[in-house]
């Protein structure tokens, strides 16, 4: 099965959150839920500190816990490209997806009493477009596409400090890590 996913170059990300906001805009989200979120990690001691960012949406895992745990089948993994997609009209708001995803990708939306998640903007992808977070990146640190093609183009790893053990769900993400994020 083909698998689509995101590539993220951590070394050139400036943490500007244009991706996070583009996602809010596309998904028309209120304050609170973030389908894509930029995390920051830091350490070291003055005058030699380090920090890095991690921009994460849904990783469209090969073994998605959210799909396995959704009691009403609202979340499915598409056969044609492996995108993990939630149908909000089926969601009953039980939050099992939010508890089971190690990446915190599904988000509970208080105002609706339902969950939602990064669906890889499949409606736009199906029209040949990128997810808006990718085209928003001012540093060109994000890309999206067939994972094997992304791997051939950039390399990268799905195992970085700050993310859970990739063995849990086999996430479809490739990251070029900063030195401090290498595992």
């Amino acid at each position: 099965m083909a698998q689509k996913g995101f590539y993220y170059d951590m070394t050139i990300c400036i943490g500007c959150k244009a991706c996070q906001i583009a996602c809010k805009d596309k998904n028309d989200l209120p304050v609170g839920p973030l389908f894509r979120k930029v995390y920051t990690f830091e350490g070291g001691k003055f005058p030699r500190p380090w920090f890095y960012h991690l921009s994460v949406g849904c990783n469209h895992c090969a073994d998605p816990r959210c799909v396995q745990n959704c009691p009403v089948g609202a979340i499915t993994k598409r056969a044609e490209d492996g995108l993990v997609i939630q149908d909000p009209s089926l969601c009953i708001g039980c939050r099992l997806c939010t508890w089971s995803c190690p990446y915190g990708a599904p988000q509970y939306i208080e105002e609706l009493g339902r969950s939602g998640k990064c669906n890889g903007c499949y409606e736009l992808v199906d029209q040949g477009q990128n997810p808006p977070c990718v085209d928003a990146c001012v540093m060109r640190a994000l890309d999206f596409g067939d994972l094997s093609e992304l791997r051939a183009k950039y390399g990268g790893t799905n195992d970085v400090a700050g993310l859970p053990d990739p063995g849990l769900t086999n996430p479809a993400i490739l990251i070029n890590p900063s030195p401090e994020a290498r595992r």
């Binding site: 809010k24 028309d28 209120p30 350490g43 003055f46 500190p49 890095y52 001012v138 540093m139 060109r140």
Partner: protein, 813 residues
């Protein structure tokens, strides 16, 4: 929501180029998907394939949030007046805390016009202080108004830069040329935050081309993280000392034969004032820069040890940096304006220029020294595409009285101001009306606490705005205005390669009107000729700018019209004009919303600043007294003296800043700290462009306006990460959540400028953390704002402070 989400994924509707008109320095392309008169989604530049040479103009988080700015629940919907307002003000202390009452436009305009008339007749035009452009036309026709002057963004570059032979703004090489540099030094610059959009990406290309990158900054910032091979932490307001320490090292270590660090040829041919043999006529030969560096007459060499004590960079590191600057063939020594935004820093630009001149990094490919910031960040040189004029004639303001922004609130309160006629010469003034036309002056000028008192003293305050910003909050009458999205359209320029045609996106919301409409309606009520205020319609102004737009041909020398405009285009726009032929059609420009000049390395648009001057300074003199770069500059010394607050030397001697590092000590010699032991400097923060966007919920969520300090300073005060802290200066108090990080230099703290002040009248505490609550209005030098010199104390605050994004929006109707 599922339905709305479905709608927002649609590609139906019309993509319209929407103005991102803000003053951040970036100028990016924003598009709005308009359906049924509403904006349902945004996107950025996709008008051509993206590449480093010909990049898309991608928007930042702020631009991407704009529909929450324009369509926010807190938009001002109707004209409002303060409930207890009465002619003359009534209980003026209620400003900022009174209830609001909705009124009609007729009533609102009648009130404003009658107060203008009453105050003019009672106190004269010199009692009306106004901020804003269109309303200035009406007030000028009605006898004039008091305006406000002073350098804000530019710091001391504004007046010092041109007099010493550089300029106030951007004056280095272009982005293609910059890729030839071997050593890129970014000094006090964080374009990742302050000019979001393209600049950091452009600098990344310089790094990829092989440059080593050093950043000099109190904070290991976002730009540094991505680009820097090395970070040199420095105390705010002490950059001048570092420059002198570097210059001293160059001087004492240079040997033209064995260790050439100084470009003597450039120094001798192109500058005046470096040594006693190259002084301008009439100058005391002893007052030369070389002898000042060596301490020949004052006994204090400005060596690395001397500089280190002030700036906090180790002496060995200063010497090493000097060797690297002097010993590298092609260096870009780039500063933002920020290091010049401090009290008494009038000589800093000259010290930097002297350093660049000594090392010869000027006027050569890949080699440059100076300001590279805001719209010129990463890319300088003349514009390659430019708009025409709007055709609107200027209206002169008959009132010549101008108040400096470090004095205008005090002038209201105390009735006097410094007249610019030399030290100590003040004159009386009686301000009784403050007119904010789309301004954020109360929030964005130094001395906010005094500013609030000033607003509660005068007889009338009026504000135009689209939301209840700080200026509007303390007004008697607020008038709702349209944003650029609701107007006829405009042309926006930014970096040298682009021209954006932002278009009408949606109709005016509620009862919002344009600033010009208000100016015209007031003119009618004041018995003026409205035709004179606005003789040209907004559509015609737009057309004039389009028809006059020009683009530089590929030869890099000749200009051609940008647009082909047909008789049908003119008829469709409903304007007057002549058909013309240009590079692209009006329809294509409208469709794309942008014209971007294609670039490639080696094209004829590459720009090397001061190249001709360097080659032949006699044939291509600078616009200075001597025609050369002035390391000795009588003109700037005279200008500062005439402003009346302080004095400087014609050569760039170090001036101790008011509320700089030295002032954190009660006893500098014994190094005993005083009551305000920490240095606060105020950064551009990604939540906002200055004060604009501070009210946008998505941005409040993304950027929480934390107070940034080092764990060492926190531990000494029993402060833990995430605590609420109280920050006090000599001028005011704010509370904020604290973010502890090893990325900031101990002894230095920082807070983003531009938060909308939220002051509790009982305690005086500003819970929003507006930096001007902490910054005093301290007039020095050329009257520039001194935002990066401020002393504070910090303690834990035991009260609650909910996160900003949970605060209710300022909805008053």
């Amino acid at each position: 929501w599922p339905e709305r989400r479905q709608a927002s994924a649609e590609t139906e509707g019309k993509w319209v180029t929407a103005a991102c008109w803000h003053n951040c320095g970036g100028r990016c392309l924003n598009k709005a998907l308009v359906k049924d008169g509403m904006v349902i989604r945004q996107k950025t530049d996709d008008t051509h394939p993206d590449s480093p040479d010909y990049p898309q103009q991608r928007a930042c988080a702020r631009g991407r949030s704009q529909r929450q700015q324009v369509l926010g629940a807190d938009r001002l919907k109707y004209p409002m007046k303060r409930k207890h307002w009465e002619p003359g003000g009534g209980n003026k202390e209620l400003r900022g805390r009174d209830e609001w009452v909705r009124i009609s436009w007729d009533e609102a305009l009648d009130i404003v016009a009658s107060e203008i008339k009453r105050i003019k007749e009672k106190y004269g035009n010199e009692s009306i202080m106004a901020f804003g452009s269109e309303i200035g036309r009406t007030l000028s026709l009605y006898g004039g108004y008091v305006s406000v002057w002073g350098s804000t963004s530019y710091g001391t570059w504004l007046e010092t830069g041109p007099r010493i032979g550089l300029s106030s703004g951007n004056h280095v090489n272009d982005r293609m040329d910059m890729r030839k540099t071997q050593l890129l030094i970014l000094w006090g610059a964080n374009p990742a935050w302050s000019s979001a959009g393209l600049p950091t990406y452009n600098y990344l290309q310089v790094k990829k081309a092989g440059a080593r990158v050093i950043t000099i900054d109190p904070l290991f910032n976002e730009t540094a993280r991505v680009l820097a091979d090395e970070w040199i932490p420095i105390r705010p307001g002490t950059d001048h000392a570092l420059a002198l320490g570097l210059a001293h090292t160059l001087l004492v270590e240079d040997d033209p034969e064995t260790n050439p660090l100084i470009d003597w040829d450039f120094l001798h041919r192109c500058t005046v004032g470096f040594d006693k043999d190259h002084m301008p006529p009439g100058a005391d030969p002893k007052e030369n820069f070389k002898d000042y560096l060596l301490g020949t007459y004052d006994g204090q060499p400005k060596d690395a040890e001397w500089a280190s004590e002030i700036c906090g960079v180790k002496a060995d590191r200063i010497r090493q940096l000097a060797r690297e600057i002097g010993g590298t063939e092609r260096v870009s020594l780039l500063v933002s304006w920020a290091p010049a935004r401090g009290n008494n820093l009038d000589s800093w630009p000259q010290a930097l220029m002297a350093l660049g001149a000594m090392s010869g990094h000027m006027g050569r490919p890949g080699s440059m020294t100076g300001v590279c910031t805001h719209s010129g960040a990463s890319n300088n040189g003349p514009s390659l595409v430019r708009a025409g004029g709007n055709g609107l004639p200027n209206i002169a303001n008959p009132v010549k009285l101008r108040l400096n922004h470090n004095e205008h609130w005090t002038a209201v309160l105390e009735g006097k101001y410094m007249a610019g006629k030399g030290p100590g010469v003040t004159e009386p003034v009686n301000i009784q009306m403050i007119y904010h036309a789309g301004s954020s002056a109360l929030n964005q000028k130094p001395g906010l606490v005094r500013g609030v008192a000033a607003h509660r003293k005068v007889e009338f305050v009026v504000a135009h705005h689209y939301a209840l910003n700080t200026s509007a909050k303390y007004a008697d009458v607020v008038l709702p205005i349209t944003t650029e999205w609701e107007r006829a359209g405009t042309l926006l320029s930014g970096n040298r390669e682009i021209l954006i045609w932002a278009q009408h996106v949606i109709d005016p919301l509620f009862e919002a009107k344009s600033d010009m409409w208000i100016a015209v309606e007031l003119a009618k009520r004041l018995g003026l000729n409205a035709e004179e205020v606005c003789p040209i319609s907004e559509e015609q102004q737009l057309f004039n700018r389009l028809a006059g737009a020009q683009v530089l041909k590929e030869d890099g020398k000749t200009w051609e019209k940008l647009l082909t405009i047909t008789a049908e285009d003119i008829a469709e726009m409903g304007v007057e004009g002549e058909p013309q032929t240009g590079r692209i059609t009006l329809a294509e420009f409208r469709e794309k919303g942008i014209y971007q000049v294609p670039r490639r390395p080696g094209d004829n648009y590459e720009y090397v600043h001061l190249a001709e001057f360097r080659q032949d300074p006699e044939k291509h003199p600078l616009n200075t007294t001597s025609g050369k770069l002035e390391i000795y500059c009588q003109a700037i010394a005279d200008h500062v003296r005439n402003c009346g607050w302080s004095e400087i030397s014609p050569i760039p001697k170090y001036n101790r800043p008011t509320e700089g590092y030295e002032d954190t000590f009660a006893d500098w010699e014994k190094k005993i700290k005083g009551d305000y032991p920490l240095q606060l400097y105020t950064i551009h923060y990604p939540r906002r462009s200055h004060s604009v966007f501070d009210n946008v919920p998505w941005l409040r969520e993304a950027f929480p306006q934390e107070f940034i300090m080092n764990p060492v300073d926190a531990e000494a005060r029993g402060i833990k990460d995430g605590d609420i802290v109280k920050i006090s200066s000599r001028h005011g108090t704010v509370i904020r959540p604290v973010y502890l990080t090893e990325r900031i230099m101990p002894g230095v703290v920082t807070l983003g400028e531009g938060a909308w002040a939220d002051i509790d009248d009982e305690t005086g505490i500003d819970k929003a953390g507006a930096t001007n609550t902490l910054n005093g209005a301290i007039p020095t030098g050329q009257g520039h704002a001194g935002w990066n010199t401020c002393n504070v104390q910090v303690e834990r605050y035991d009260g609650p402070l909910p996160p900003d994004h949970t605060w209710p929006q300022r909805v008053i109707f």
